[in-house]
C-alpha cells in the first residue's frame, strides 16, 4: 500500500490552487469542527452502548460473581449454555422462538397490511384510525401491566373471567396470568396490541408518498388487482421504509420481551411458561449473580438480533452486502 498522504498531496495542492482562484468555495474541504459536533453524541453512545456491548463480550468468557475479580474461563459459559442449561433448552429457546416469530414477522406483516389498508381511506378517516391504532404503542407494554392484571385477574372479579362466565363459556374462573397454558398467548396478544409503533408510521408514510404515476404506469402494464398493485408497485417502491419498519419490529420484539415477568409478577415465570431469553439473562445476573454466564446469554441474544436484522437487510436493502 502506498502512503495515503502521498496520494493526498496532489489533491490538496489542487485544492489550494482552487482556493487561490475561487477563495469563497471551500465546500469539499475537511471540517475539523465536525468532531466537536459529533463528540457529545459519540461520548454518550460509547459509554452506554459500545462499552456495555464490549463488556458483555469480554465478561462472557469469564466467571464473575460481582465480588471477586472476573476469572478467565474461555468458552465454558457458552458450552454450559448449550449443554448444561436444561431450562434454557427446554423452555427459554422454544418460548423465545414462538414469541419472536409471532410478534416479529407476524406483527410486522400485520402492521404493513394495516398501514396499506389505511392508505386506501380518505385523509380524515385515516388520521383518526391511525391515531387509534398507534396509541397503544404509547403505553410501552410493561407500564400498562396494571391494566392487564385487572382484566386478566385470576378470580371471578377479573373482567375476562366475569365476561366469559356470563356467556357460559367457562364455569370456573381461569388464572390467566399464572397458568402455563394462557400466559404465553396473553403475552403475545398484549405485545401485538402495543406493537403498531414507529415502524408502522414509517410504512404508512412511505405508502402515502408513493408517486401516483407509478400506479398509472402499472395499470397500463397490465396490473389487474389491488394485490398485484401492492406486490409489484407499493412494496418495491417503499423498500427503505419496509426495512426501517422491519428493524423496528425486530428491536421491538426483543426489547419488549420482559413482558412475561411483568404480567405474572415472578421471575422465573410460572412453570417457565413465559420465560424468554431476556428474563433468563436477568435471572442469572440479578438473582444468581452469575454475571459471566448472563453476559454470554446477552452476547447470544445480540448475535441473534444482528443475524435477523441482516436477513431483513438482505430482503429489503438496496445496497448489496
Amino acid at each position: 500500500m502506498t502512503d495515503p498522504t502521498v496520494l493526498m498531496k496532489p489533491a490538496s495542492f489542487a485544492d489550494r490552487l482552487k482556493r487561490l482562484f475561487a477563495p469563497r468555495r471551500r465546500v469539499r474541504d475537511s471540517h475539523p469542527v465536525a468532531y466537536a459536533f459529533v463528540a457529545p453524541y459519540l461520548t454518550m453512545f460509547a459509554i452506554f452502548i459500545i462499552v456495555p456491548v464490549a463488556a458483555a463480550i469480554l465478561l462472557s468468557f469469564t466467571y464473575f460473581d460481582t465480588v471477586r475479580f472476573p476469572q478467565w474461563i474461555g468458552f465454558e459459559n457458552y458450552i454450559n449454555i448449550l449443554t448444561n442449561d436444561a431450562e434454557f433448552m427446554q423452555y427459554v429457546i422454544p418460548n423465545t422462538l414462538k414469541y419472536a416469530v409471532i410478534v416479529g414477522p407476524g406483527g410486522y406483516t400485520l402492521s404493513f397490511l394495516i398501514a396499506w389498508m389505511l392508505a386506501q381511506l380518505t385523509p380524515k378517516v385515516r388520521t383518526i384510525l391511525a391515531l387509534v391504532i398507534y396509541s397503544p404503542s404509547l403505553t410501552a407494554g410493561v407500564t400498562m401491566s396494571v391494566l392487564w392484571k385487572v382484566i386478566f385477574a385470576g378470580d371471578e372479579t377479573g373482567y375476562l373471567n366475569m365476561f366469559l362466565m356470563n356467556l357460559g363459556a367457562i364455569n370456573e374462573p381461569v388464572a390467566w396470568l399464572t397458568s402455563a397454558e394462557t400466559l404465553m398467548p396473553i403475552m403475545i396478544g398484549v405485545t401485538l396490541w402495543s406493537s403498531m409503533g414507529v415502524g408502522f408510521l414509517a410504512m404508512l408514510a412511505g405508502i402515502l408518498n408513493v408517486n401516483q404515476d407509478l400506479y398509472e404506469a402499472g395499470y397500463i402494464d397490465g396490473i389487474k388487482n389491488k394485490f398485484q398493485e401492492m406486490v409489484y408497485i407499493t412494496i418495491p417502491t417503499i423498500k427503505p421504509q419496509m426495512l426501517f419498519g422491519a428493524v423496528m419490529a425486530i428491536v421491538g420484539t426483543f426489547g419488549s420481551s420482559g413482558i412475561g415477568v411483568a404480567l405474572s409478577g415472578s421471575n422465573p415465570t410460572p412453570q417457565y411458561a413465559g420465560q424468554l431469553i431476556v428474563n433468563h439473562i436477568e435471572y442469572f445476573g440479578f438473582n444468581k449473580y452469575e454475571m459471566g454466564y448472563a453476559a454470554a446469554l446477552s452476547v447470544i441474544l445480540l448475535l441473534v438480533i444482528y443475524a435477523v436484522s441482516r436477513f431483513a437487510f438482505r430482503l429489503f436493502g438496496s445496497k448489496d452486502e
Binding site: R24, R26, V27, S30, H31, P32, Y35, F37, P40, Y41, M44, I47, F48, V51, P52, A55, L59, M117, Q120, L121, T122, P123, V132, I133, Y134, S135, L138, T139, T143, S145, V146, K149, V150, I151, E156, T157, Y159, M162, V198, A202, L204, N209, Q212, Y215, I238, Q241, L243, F244, V251, G265, V278, I281, E282, G285, A294, S298, I305, F313, G317, S318
Partner: protein, 294 residues
C-alpha cells in the same frame, strides 16, 4: 376489461373522496381499531370509578358515577418511606425535560456533521449508528449496570438522564432529514461568512423541526415510561420516578383500592404521551416519510 379496471382503480392510494369500495377496508380496520382502543377506554373508566364500583360484583366495564377520588387518593397517599406521590411526579418531569432538551441538541448537532460536513470517520460512524438501530438495551442490562457502577453513578440522579441521550434511531431520522436540505443552501451561507455553529443554528435547526419533533416524542416515550432505571440504578426512594412508583402500586393486585389508584396513575402516564403525539402528529409523519434505510 375496462370495467374491472375501473373498479379496483376507484380505490386509489390516498383518495381525496369517499368511495363505496372503501367499505371493505373499513370492515377490516374498524374491528381492529375497536380492539386497540378498548383497553384504553377501560383505563379511562376504571380511573374514574368510585370505590363501590371498583368492588362491584359482577364488575362493570363502564363507570356509572364518575369521581375523582382515585386521583385524590393517589395524591394523598405517600410511599412506604413517607415520600409523597408528587415527588415522584416531579422527578419524572425534571428527568423527561432534561433528556428531551439534551438529546435533541446532541443528535441534531451530530446529524448536521454526519450529513453535511466532511471529516474522517464519518462513513464509519454512520454505519455503526445504522447497526446500532438494532441495539436492544435490555440485552445488556447487566454489563451496563457494571459500567454505571464503575462510573460511580449508582444512586446518582443523572443516571435517569445519561443512558437516554444517545438514541440511534433519533440520530438516524435527523440525519436522513438533514440529507434533504440542499447543500447549496449551506454553501451559500458559508459564502456569506457564516460559521458552522451559525449554519447549524440558523439554517439546519429551523429546517428540521419535524425531525426534532419526532426525536422529542421518541425520547419522551422512552424516558417517561421507563421504570427500569429507578428499579436498577437507584436505591434512594426520593430519587425514583413516577413510572417506577406506578409499578409498586400494582404489585398488590388484590387490593381493590390500589387498583383504582393504579388506573388513575396509568392515565396520568398515558395522557401526556397522547397529547404530545396528537400535537406533533403531522410533523412525525413528515419525518417518517424520510425514514427509509437505503
Amino acid at each position: 376489461m375496462k370495467k374491472t379496471k375501473s373498479r379496483f382503480q376507484a380505490t386509489k392510494i390516498n383518495p381525496k373522496r369517499f368511495h363505496p369500495a372503501q367499505f371493505r377496508y373499513l370492515a377490516v380496520l374498524l374491528p381492529i381499531a375497536a380492539f386497540m382502543i378498548l383497553p384504553l377506554i377501560f383505563i379511562f373508566n376504571h380511573a374514574f370509578k368510585p370505590f363501590e364500583e371498583l368492588f362491584a360484583y359482577p364488575p362493570r366495564f363502564f363507570v356509572n358515577r364518575p369521581t375523582l377520588s382515585n386521583f385524590t387518593n393517589l395524591f394523598a397517599v405517600t410511599g412506604s418511606s413517607g415520600i409523597p406521590m408528587s415527588r415522584y411526579l416531579f422527578n419524572s418531569i425534571v428527568v423527561t425535560i432534561l433528556v428531551i432538551a439534551v438529546s435533541v441538541l446532541i443528535s441534531t448537532m451530530a446529524g448536521y456533521a454526519l450529513s453535511k460536513l466532511h471529516f474522517k470517520g464519518k462513513k464509519a460512524i454512520n454505519e455503526i449508528n445504522t447497526i446500532a438501530l438494532m441495539f436492544v438495551g435490555v440485552a445488556v442490562t447487566i454489563p451496563r449496570y457494571l459500567v454505571i457502577e464503575k462510573l460511580g453513578l449508582i444512586d446518582n440522579f443523572l443516571i435517569h438522564v445519561l443512558p437516554y441521550l444517545a438514541v440511534p434511531v433519533g440520530l438516524f431520522l435527523v440525519k436522513q432529514f438533514i440529507d434533504q436540505i440542499p447543500g447549496e443552501l449551506i454553501d451559500a451561507a458559508r459564502v456569506d461568512g457564516a460559521n458552522d455553529w451559525q449554519i447549524y443554528q440558523k439554517i439546519v435547526v429551523p429546517l428540521v423541526k419535524p425531525a426534532i419533533a419526532t426525536i422529542m416524542i421518541l425520547s419522551f416515550q422512552s424516558v417517561w415510561n421507563s421504570a427500569d432505571t429507578s428499579a436498577t440504578y437507584i436505591n434512594a426512594d426520593v430519587k425514583k420516578t413516577f413510572a417506577f412508583y406506578m409499578g409498586t402500586l400494582t404489585t398488590n393486585t388484590s387490593a381493590v383500592e390500589s387498583q383504582g389508584m393504579a388506573a388513575a396513575a396509568s392515565l396520568i402516564m398515558f395522557i401526556p404521551n397522547l397529547v404530545i403525539f396528537i400535537i406533533m402528529q403531522s410533523k412525525v409523519m413528515d419525518t417518517m416519510a424520510h425514514s427509509g434505510i437505503k
